[in-house]
C-alpha cells in the first residue's frame, strides 16, 4: 500500500518549522509506524538529504523514547499504544498522515519530531524516589504488602514517562505523570516517610518547569499508552491537601 506522509521539519529549537510532504511512500501493513519513517530516512540519506529526526529506542513500547502527534493524536491511532507499536495496518491505502512533535511549552522542540522532555527528569529529581541507601535495606519479606495495594501501586508504576499525557492535554499539564509517581510511591509502606514532602516538592517542580494546570479534561488518560488512570490525580490532590494542612508553616 501507499501513503502520503506530512512530517514536521524544524532544523533547531529557534528555527521556523514547516511540514514536508512525502507522497506515495511504499509500505506494508505489518510494518510499524517507525519503520515507515525508517523507509523515508533510508531514501533521504542515500540521496544526501538529512533524515527526519525522531527519538526511538526499544521499539517495543516500554522505554518511552518515541512519540509524536499523528493525525492529531498523541502516539497515533489506537488506544494504549506507543507510536512504535502502531502498525501501518491502522491506515488505509492512499491515506495522508500528518506527523508533528509533542507540543508543550515545557517540551521544546530540538529538531523535527525530537523534543526535550528533561523537565520530567527534574520533577523526579525533586522528590520522585524513596531514600534507601544501598546496603541499608531490611529483609524483603519483613513487611508484607497486601496484594491489592501492591497491584494498585503497580498500576501507577507502569508509567513510561513518554510525555503523551502532556502532549494530549489542552493545558499541557503533567498531572498524570506526576500523580502516577506520587501514587506508586505513596501507596507503599516504604514510601510513607517522604509521602507529603514528595507530593509538595514534585508539584512545585512541575509548576516551575512550565507545565499547565489540570482542569480535568481527561485527554491524558485517553492518550496514555499504559492506561494510567485519572484516579491517581485525585489521589495526588488528596495528598497535596493533607500536606498543605500538616507540613511546614
Amino acid at each position: 500500500m501507499k501513503v502520503n506522509v506530512r512530517v514536521w521539519r524544524q532544523s533547531g529549537p529557534d528555527a521556523q518549522g514547516a511540514f514536508e510532504d512525502f507522497s506515495g511512500v511504499d509500505v506494508l501493513p505489518d510494518m510499524s509506524f517507525l519503520e515507515m519513517l525508517d523507509v523515508i530516512n533510508v531514501k533521504l540519506e542515500a540521496s544526501g538529504s538529512e533524515p527526519v529526526c525522531f527519538d526511538s529506542d526499544c521499539r517495543e513500547g516500554i522505554c518511552g523514547s518515541c512519540g509524536a502527534v499523528v493525525n492529531g493524536e498523541a502516539h497515533g491511532p489506537g488506544t494504549r499504544s506507543t507510536l512504535c507499536q502502531v502498525h501501518m495496518r491502522s491506515f488505509k491505502d492512499g491515506d495522508t498522515i500528518t506527523v508533528e512533535p509533542f507540543r508543550a511549552k515545557a517540551f521544546p522542540v530540538i529538531r523535527d519530531l525530537m523534543v526535550d522532555r528533561s523537565a520530567f527528569d527534574k520533577i523526579i529529581q525533586a522528590g520522585g524516589f524513596i531514600t534507601a541507601r544501598t546496603g541499608s535495606a531490611p529483609e524483603a519479606n519483613a513487611a508484607p504488602i497486601g496484594k491489592q495495594v501492591a497491584d494498585e501501586a503497580f498500576d501507577a508504576a507502569t508509567c513510561i514517562g513518554c510525555g503523551a499525557c502532556v502532549a494530549a492535554c489542552p493545558n499541557a499539564s503533567a498531572m498524570l505523570f506526576v500523580s502516577a509517581k506520587v501514587s506508586h510511591l505513596g501507596m507503599l509502606p516504604q514510601g510513607q516517610p517522604q509521602r507529603l514532602a514528595r507530593v509538595e516538592d514534585m508539584v512545585a517542580a512541575m509548576d516551575a518547569a512550565g507545565f499547565g494546570a489540570c482542569s480535568n479534561h481527561g485527554e491524558c488518560e485517553a492518550a496514555c499508552p499504559k492506561g494510567i488512570s485519572l484516579k491517581f490525580i485525585a489521589r495526588l490532590n488528596q495528598d497535596l491537601v493533607q500536606a498543605a494542612f500538616t507540613r511546614r508553616s
Binding site: E60, C63, I145, G146, A157, L185, G191
Partner: protein, 637 residues
C-alpha cells in the same frame, strides 16, 4: 596481555568476604575528592552511579538516551533471580551458583559466579526498599516463578515489566543523587573515546548529540556500563541505539575483549517478516512456564493450529528433554526450534517459527489466572501480530538477545586497562557461554550496587585525587582522532545509508556466526567483512554536519565500529573449536545433536587484544579452574 583474575583462593563460601577485608579503602573524608565517570545508565550504570554518590564520590554519568530512565534494561520482561528460598523448594546460594556455572556450560569463573549468587539476596531487599513493586501473594509476601535451566522457583518478577521496575528504582536513586549535586548527569551524550594517561584510564571524549560539541571529561577512574553488542546482527531484540562503540573504543585503547563469540539466542521471539523490519520483539521466557512448545508432526502441515489434532502435534521439548521439558535453557530451546524448522516443521508460511501454546494452561488455570500472569505479554503479541494468544498459539522463533562476551574484567571488575572498570552486560563475567533467564538483571544490579562500589576503592586508594588534567596530550590526541573520524564520515558523501550497510553485515553474521557456525562459513564471513567495511568508508552517505543534531552521523559511527567488531567476533568463533552454550559449531556435536565441549583445549576465556590498525587482533587466554562444579556434559533430559 596480563590476565590475572585476582580471585581469592581458599574456600569459595568466604572468598568475597575475605577479599573485601583485604582490599584498600578510601577514607570517607577523602571520597569527596575523587571523581568517577560512569558511562551508561542501565541497571548496572544507574545503580553504580547512585551508590558511588551515596558513598561520597563525585560522579559524572552519561547516556545517549534523552533520559537515564530509558536505558535498554527497561525492556527486560521476565524477572530477576535470587537465592532467597522463599518457596521452601530447596534453593540455596550454592544451588544458584551451581545452576549458573552449569547453565553457562562451564565457561565462567567460579568465584565470580559464587559472589553473584551470594549478593542476589541483598538485591531483592534493596529493590523492595526503593519501592519496586514485585509481584506478591495474597498474604502480602513476595511471589516467585520458575525460569529456564532451574528446578526451583527463585525468580522475582513485576508482571512482565521487571526490567522497567528495577530500572526505575535505580533511576530514582540516581535522580536523588543528581538533585543532591553528587551526580552530574549528561543525557544525549555519546562516548566516542576512552582516554588513557600513562597506562591509566583518566577520562573520555564525548559528543553532545544535540549540539554536536566534542568535549573532554577527566576523572580518577572510568566505569563502562554500556551494555552488549547484540545489534551487530542488525535484527535483534536490543533497542535500536544499543551499540558496541564504547567497549570497542576501550578495546582499541588496550582493554581485552573476551569471548565475543558467546552470543545468546533467545528462543521465544516473534518471527521475522518482510525486509523492512527494524528490530525483533522478545516474548518473555516466563511464558515457557505455562506455554507448551510444539510443531506439527507432518512436514509442510500449514493448517491453522487449532485444526491440528493432539496426536498430530510434536511437543518436541517435552519429548527430547523430559526432566526440564519446556524449561530447558535458552541455547538448548533455540537449537531445538532451529532443528525442527530445518527439518521442515515450521509453522510460519514462507518463514521460520514454532508454536507456543497456552491452551492447556487456560484449561488448567482458567483464563483469569493466565491473564494475570501474562496479560501484558499477550497484549503486546496481539498488537504486533494481530492474533490473540488466548485464541490461537503464539508463533515464535529464536533471535539474538544478549551477549555474554564483553570486555575482560578481573574479580574487581577492572579491565586490562588500569582504572577502567566494566560492569553489567558490557563485561564478560558470570554467564560463561550461556546466560540463564532472569540472571542479567541480577548481574547488572550486583555489579552496580554491591561489587563495584567496594572494589573501585581498591584502585582509587592508590591514585592521587584529581591527578589527571584535560590538558594532557592524551586528551588532545584522542579528541583529534574523534574529530577526524567524524569529518571523514560526513565528508564521504556516498550513496548508501549506514543502515543499509548495517543490514548487510548483520545478515552475514547471522548466517555465518548465528545459531550454528561452521569453519567454512566463518572463514567466508571473515573474508567478506573487510570488503563491506571498505565499501562503507567509500560509499556511506552521512548528510548534514557534525556540528548539530545528526542521527545519520550517530548511526554511521556505530555501524563503523560494528564493521570492525564483527570480524573479531567471527575469528573468536572460528578459533574456538568446540561447541558450548550459545556457541554451536556444527563440527562439534554429539550424535544426538547436543553441544560437544572440549574441556582439555578450551576450558578458558579467549581474550582479544588490539595490536594496531594494520595487524590482526591477538588471542590470549585465561585458564578456568573448576574446584566445585566439575565440568560434565550438560544434560536436561
Amino acid at each position: 596481555m596480563e590476565l590475572q583474575s585476582r580471585a581469592p583462593e581458599g574456600p569459595i563460601e568466604t572468598s568475597w568476604m575475605r577479599h573485601r577485608q583485604a582490599i584498600r579503602l578510601v577514607n570517607p573524608a577523602n571520597k569527596r575528592k575523587y571523581h568517577v565517570i560512569v558511562v551508561g545508565t542501565g541497571l548496572a550504570g544507574a545503580s553504580a552511579s547512585a551508590t558511588l554518590a551515596q558513598l561520597g564520590y563525585n560522579v559524572s554519568a552519561f547516556c545517549f538516551q534523552d533520559s537515564p530512565r530509558r536505558a535498554h534494561s527497561i525492556a527486560a520482561q521476565g524477572g530477576i533471580n535470587a537465592a532467597k528460598n522463599y518457596q521452601n523448594d530447596g534453593d540455596s546460594i550454592y544451588r544458584l551458583f551451581y545452576d549458573t556455572v552449569k547453565g553457562g556450560d562451564f565457561r565462567a569463573r567460579e568465584r565470580n559466579v559464587y559472589r553473584l549468587a551470594q549478593i542476589s539476596v541483598d538485591i531483592i531487599d534493596q529493590c523492595v526498599a526503593q519501592g519496586v513493586p514485585f509481584a506478591r501473594e495474597y498474604g502480602g509476601l513476595l511471589s516467585n516463578r520458575s525460569f529456564g535451566g532451574a528446578l526451583v522457583s527463585r525468580t522475582f518478577y513485576a508482571r512482565g515489566q521487571t526490567g522497567q521496575q528495577l530500572l526505575i528504582g535505580a533511576y530514582q536513586a540516581l535522580s536523588e543523587q543528581i538533585a543532591l549535586g553528587k551526580v552530574k548527569m549528561h543525557p544525549r551524550t555519546e562516548l566516542l573515546d576512552v582516554v588513557v594517561v600513562d597506562g591509566h584510564a583518566k577520562g573520555i571524549i564525548t559528543r553532545d548529540l544535540v549540539t554536536g560539541a566534542i568535549r573532554r571529561h577527566v576523572a580518577d577512574a572510568v566505569v563502562l556500563a554500556t551494555g552488549g553488542y547484540g545489534n551487530v546482527f542488525y535484527l535483534s531484540t536490543n533497542a535500536k541505539g544499543c551499540n558496541v562503540t564504547a567497549t570497542w573504543r576501550a578495546y582499541k585503547r588496550g582493554a581485552g575483549f573476551a569471548n565475543p563469540c558467546f552470543t545468546q539466542i533467545h528462543p521465544t521471539c516473534i518471527p521475522v517478516f518482510g525486509d523492512h523490519q527494524s528490530k525483533l520483539t522478545l516474548m518473555s521466557e516466563s511464558l515457557r512456564n505455562d506455554g507448551r512448545v510444539w510443531v506439527p508432526k507432518r512436514v509442510g502441515d500449514i493448517r491453522p493450529a487449532n485444526q491440528i489434532p493432539e496426536e498430530e502435534r510434536d511437543y518436541y521439548l517435552e519429548r527430547m528433554y523430559p526432566t526440564f521439558g519446556n524449561l530447558v535453557p535458552r541455547d538448548v530451546a533455540s537449537r531445538a526450534a532451529k532443528r525442527m524448522c530445518d527439518e521442515g516443521h515450521t509453522v510460519v508460511n514462507g518463514g521460520l517459527g514454532v508454536f507456543l501454546d497456552f491452551r492447556e494452561a487456560i484449561q488448567r488455570l482458567g483464563r483469569k489466572v493466565v491473564d494475570d500472569r501474562y496479560g501484558n505479554l499477550f497484549e503486546m503479541y496481539e498488537r504486533i501480530t494481530g492474533e490473540s494468544p488466548f485464541e490461537t498459539p503464539m508463533k515464535i522463533y529464536p533471535a539474538i538477545h544478549y551477549t555474554m562476551g564483553g570486555l575482560w574484567v578481573d574479580y574487581n571488575l577492572m579491565s586490562t586497562v588500569n582504572g577502567l572498570y566494566v560492569i553489567g552486560e558490557a563485561n564478560f563475567s558470570d554467564h560463561g557461554a550461556n546466560r540463564l533467564g532472569a540472571s542479567a538483571l541480577m548481574q547488572g544490579l550486583a555489579d552496580g550496587y554491591f561489587v563495584l562500589p567496594y572494589t573501585i576503592g581498591d584502585y582509587l586508594a592508590t591514585q592521587k585525587a584529581g591527578g589527571a588534567s584535560v590538558d594532557h596530550a592524551a586528551f588532545a590526541d584522542a579528541e583529534r582522532e574523534v574529530k577526524a573520524r567524524i569529518d571523514r564520515l560526513v565528508s564521504t558523501r556516498g550513496k548508501t545509508s549506514a543502515d543499509t550497510f548495517h543490514r548487510e553485515v548483520g545478515q552475514l553474521v547471522w548466517d555465518k556466526c548465528g545459531m550454528a557456525r561452521t569453519r567454512e562459513g566463518l572463514r567466508e564471513a571473515i573474508a567478506k567483512i573487510p570488503e563491506i567495511r571498505e565499501r562503507f568508508w567509500r560509499d556511506v552517505s552521512v548528510p548534514g554536519s557534525g556540528a548539530t543534531t545528526n542521527q545519520a552521523l550517530e548511526r554511521a559511527g556505530r555501524v563503523a565500529d560494528f564493521l570492525e567488531f564483527a570480524e573479531v567476533m567471527c575469528r573468536d568463533a572460528l578459533e574456538r573449536e568446540e561447541s558450548c552454550g550459545g556457541h554451536f559449531r556444527e563440527e562439534y556435536q554429539t550424535p544426538d545433536g547436543e553441544a560437544l565441549r572440549d574441556d582439555v583445549a578450551f576450558a578458558h576465556s579467549a581474550v582479544w587484544a588490539y595490536d594496531g590498525p594494520d595487524r590482526p587482533a591477538v588471542r590470549h587466554t585465561e585458564q578456568l579452574q573448576f574446584d566445585y562444579v566439575k565440568p560434565s556434559q550438560r544434560s536436561y533430559k
